[in-house]
Symmetry: C2
Subunit: 174 residues, 2 copies
Amino acid sequence: MSWDEVDESVCPIARSLSVVGDRWTLLILRELSMGSTKFDEIQAQTGMSSFLLSTRLKRLEADGVIERVPYSDRPLRYEYVATDKGKELDPVLLALRGWGMRWGKYRKNEPPAVNMVLKRTGETIDADWVPGKADTPFTFDLCDATVGRKFAAERKGRAAAFRAGRRASASKSE
Amino acid sequence: MSWDEVDESVCPIARSLSVVGDRWTLLILRELSMGSTKFDEIQAQTGMSSFLLSTRLKRLEADGVIERVPYSDRPLRYEYVATDKGKELDPVLLALRGWGMRWGKYRKNEPPAVNMVLKRTGETIDADWVPGKADTPFTFDLCDATVGRKFAAERKGRAAAFRAGRRASASKSE
């Protein structure tokens, strides 16, 4: 069975996986939900090659999961935003987050990578939290998120390593 | 960033994806939840090569997501079952199912591939259903599932094609 065939299956899980069944794709969507919307930002935080990221972004755009929006006219530059269809994948990310928090190897009492609070009620979105009917379909837009100290440091380190790598390859090609 | 590094991230989504961020892995878990627990059955329904399926099953066993259980002594044969850790990925599959039902290209009023009913209350688990606190952590064990006519035919066709392919390659090697 090729992935074209999976796409034709009547099973909605198989159909969804034909669009997003790929860790990179879901990491891209994580980045968009965290406000990393520019190509370089996404690349720095996921560690994808330019080619791979570009291919995946085009595919997600073709599937109607993300949109390109210009943020600068001269030079013309785009950022990427999740469409409604894309945002409705947030419950998948939420479920992966909960599972990772429950079953990942964390130190005891390690604070969450991202503190999430439901705007509507102020309740903390922990590993076992599930949205009620009032918050369905759930999207991360319903939450206030604060990146924890450790995850912020990790992300800062990645951004710095990415810039350093780019400077190194620029000076090599001079 | 390699996937070893992603595994080290404090982000629970990245950690989860390092275990299950792969369409094949999630399709294997779908099969286990549907009662296809033997190697050949999983292979027939996912269309994976023996090598790929075998690699993924070993990885999932090493990660504590599935277990091998003998179902026959002579010859010694195993089937695969999800552990508690594996069953708690069902909310991820449920979220993918819901998204696929909402955004997949279905005919209007097309019946669901699998009819799912919550045992505890009898309510239908449709695209927008989310588990309440009483049903969290959600697993498919909490549901009665009936495979719809169209999906049953699709699965039967795959099983038949798989057997035919195996017969053909057996007669070639004779």
